[in-house]
């Protein structure tokens, strides 16, 4: 296509690019800054001004952070929480969404309403805490997984995706002799890669970044998640614990700032690595060829 832009359109496009550029920079710069600081020597890190690339690279802060047993335990706990939590969320969400997506389900409208209701009105922090306590889940890893295992929003999103799968596939499978379980696990779920990848990513990010519930329900440090340690280091400046037993020679190769930055990067990278693996599911067209449309 080739057409002439009017003056107004040119101005609009320039302004558009400018505003979006500023927003993009304001988002990307903190990342670059933290990565740059985490890789810098103490002298370089304490220098003011813009930090885009470290002029003198030092991995001392990373070595310190990754050799800390509490952080490594947090890493393990967060990973366990993320993997188990996401798996259970996907299974439970599909099991809830499938019957709600079926036209023949009795009282489907009422059930959907009741689920939607929980999106708007929730018990709140204190009732939730009391419930967890009554269930005997305090200081248990299940307290971080079960209460958030199934959310109304995820159920509605998956339900809507299931409803977009042509009804004729369900009918065809029924005539082929498939039970509802077979249809769900062998037809619907394999066709729902995009939505399940999306829900999985949301859930993984949620579990990885969650801090507040762990602070409320977990008292034992051996069960504590990574974000709690990050909070202690970044917000409470508790870098001394990491520096315990470090020689004075080594201590001169990092500062509290580089330790904080390295901890932030260590907690960020795993979840950022997940995205490329899930990206292929986001591509559209999985239904291509199934039905004419």
């Amino acid at each position: 296509m080739n057409w002439q832009l009017t003056r107004g359109e040119k101005i609009f496009q320039t302004l558009n690019a400018l505003v979006l550029g500023v927003i993009a920079v304001s988002m990307i710069y903190p990342f670059i800054y933290i990565i740059s600081i985490s890789l810098s020597t103490p002298a370089e890190a304490s220098r003011g001004g813009l930090h885009l690339f470290p002029r003198e690279i030092s991995l001392a802060a990373y070595k310190l952070v990754l050799s800390d047993s509490a952080i490594l335990a947090g890493f393990g706990n967060s990973t366990l929480r993320m993997v188990l939590g996401t798996t259970l969320t996907l299974v439970a969400t599909c099991l809830a969404a499938y019957p709600l997506a079926r036209p023949g389900m009795p009282h489907r409208g009422l059930l959907t309403f009741l689920i939607l209701f929980t999106m708007v009105f929730t018990g709140g922090m204190v009732p939730n805490y009391l419930l967890i306590q009554e269930l005997g889940l305090l200081n248990s890893r299940w307290a971080l997984i079960l209460p958030v295992m199934i959310t109304a929003f995820n159920v509605i999103v998956v339900k809507n995706f299931f409803q977009a799968i042509p009804e004729s596939l369900w009918e065809s499978a029924r005539i082929d002799g498939a039970s509802e379980w077979t249809i769900l696990f062998r037809i619907y779920i394999p066709l729902s890669g995009p939505v399940l990848a999306t829900v999985a990513l949301w859930t993984m990010v949620f579990h990885w970044n969650s801090w507040f519930d762990a602070m409320l329900y977990i008292t034992d440090d051996s069960k504590q998640v990574l974000q709690i340690f990050l909070q202690r280091i970044v917000v409470d400046n508790a870098t001394e614990a990491l520096e315990t037993g470090v020689s004075s020679d080594q201590a001169s190769s990092f500062t509290p700032e580089t330790i904080k930055a390295a901890t932030v990067v260590v907690t960020l990278v795993p979840i950022m690595l997940v995205y490329p693996f899930l990206q292929r599911f986001f591509t559209k067209g999985i239904m291509l060829g199934s039905v004419k449309g």
Partner: protein, 379 residues
């Protein structure tokens, strides 16, 4: 194989919408029955009730010796081909065809044999490892056919399977379905809205409208002896022409006349059967191929002509459709041999009286020129 009996079947949807109003249909073992009609006539609903995909509000459907109203689709011994193919997109062609057999726990060698045999019959052997997205529309529909035939069911159900194909492919696949039916001789119920498909495929054609069967008979019978105006109008391309008028006794004979100067002498069985309706309003139906621009072997009688003017001509190769009108606004289309003809030319159209029908007024007006034995058996 099995016969299918549909008895007083009614389908009422929520909101008290009645889609099927108590139909009766006997489909013989090995018969190819086509249900045809306009959108919303109840043909697909009837098929889906037979498949078990819709609940039956009243009446019974039997496949073979048993009533299947409460039998789930998988236990009805049927296979269905859908309009939109309904192939499982994440499975290869082989797995699509094998899926139903696998669920029925057929041994692997048997599954392999059935799938490869069906693929051979349909010429899709080279496609077995492909996924549906790598197939053309025609290939997908053949896979859908293959998925149905591997099951070796008692009844095949087709729900407008050719609607999504282009015209050329539709004709080819139609012939393939016909060949397949001859080879397998399985009882088949085929739903379409395309009257050409219905006429070419069916052993019998069942024309439906407004939830009722209007007529069910062989393709030739429904075309030549339509029981009412709806059936007459639905079948044929171009459709039958209709001219409003009345039966007028005159000069010792019975004439079809109207105020626009139309005056046609009824002879033979038309005059006999319409004699009792003299003086009444009727609608005359004329097939386009029963109208000629000059007298001939089938249209010799000068008292069976229409004075009309050529409005538009559509050339179709060796034939042409001539759209005609008269001063009173009566319209007609004649399909005649192609020749030089100018628009605006006045013509005396000669009628083949054997192709004329007289109907009572109204959309479903009965054909009064049929022997009573034919008119009394609509379903």
């Amino acid at each position: 194989m099995a016969q299918v009996l549909i008895r007083d079947v009614v389908k009422v949807y929520p909101g008290n919408v009645t889609a099927v109003k108590g139909i009766n249909l006997d489909i013989a073992d090995g018969e190819f029955m086509v249900l045809v009609g306009p959108s919303g006539c109840g043909k697909s609903t009837t098929l889906r009730m037979t498949a078990g995909l819709e609940e039956i509000s009243d009446g019974t459907v039997s496949i073979g010796p048993r009533i299947v109203n409460d039998v789930p689709p998988k236990d009805r011994d049927i296979a269905m081909v859908f309009q939109n193919y309904a192939l499982y997109p994440h499975m290869t062609v082989y797995k699509n065809m094998a899926f139903g057999l696998k669920l029925r726990k057929f041994p692997k060698p048997e599954i392999h044999k059935r799938v490869t045999d069906a693929a051979e019959i349909l010429g899709i052997t080279p496609l077995l490892d492909r996924k549906p997205k790598a197939l053309s529309g025609g290939q997908r529909q053949r896979v859908a056919l293959g998925r149905a035939i591997v099951r070796d069911p008692s009844v095949f159900l087709f729900d407008e399977p050719l609607s999504n194909l282009d015209a050329k492919l539709r004709v080819e696949t139609r012939a393939e379905i016909k060949r397949l039916h001859k080879r397998l001789a399985t009882t088949t119920i085929y739903v379409t809205h395309d009257q050409e498909e219905a006429m070419t495929l069916g052993d019998r054609v069942c024309i439906m409208s407004e939830g009722l069967i209007q007529q069910c008979d062989t393709p030739l019978a429904v075309y030549e002896r339509p029981v009412n105006r709806f059936v007459a109008a639905f079948l044929g391309t171009p459709p039958m022409n209709f001219i409003d008028g009345r039966l007028t006794p005159q000069d010792g004979g019975l004439w079809f006349t109207n105020d626009h100067g139309v005056k046609i002498k009824l002879t033979g069985h038309h005059a006999e059967l319409a004699a009792g309706k003299a003086g009444q309003d009727v609608v005359m139906g004329l097939r386009p191929e029963g109208m000629f621009m000059r007298p001939g072997a089938f249209a010799q009688n000068e008292e069976q002509t229409l004075d009309m003017t050529v409005d538009v001509i559509e050339l179709l190769g060796n034939t042409m459709d001539v759209f005609l009108s008269n001063a009173g606004g009566d319209l007609a289309t004649a399909r005649v041999k192609a020749e030089e003809l100018a628009e605006g030319t006045p013509l005396k159209i000669h009628l083949d009286i054997s192709k004329i029908h007289l109907f009572e007024p109204g959309k479903f007006g009965q054909n009064i020129t049929l022997p009573e034995t034919v008119a009394a058996v609509p379903g």
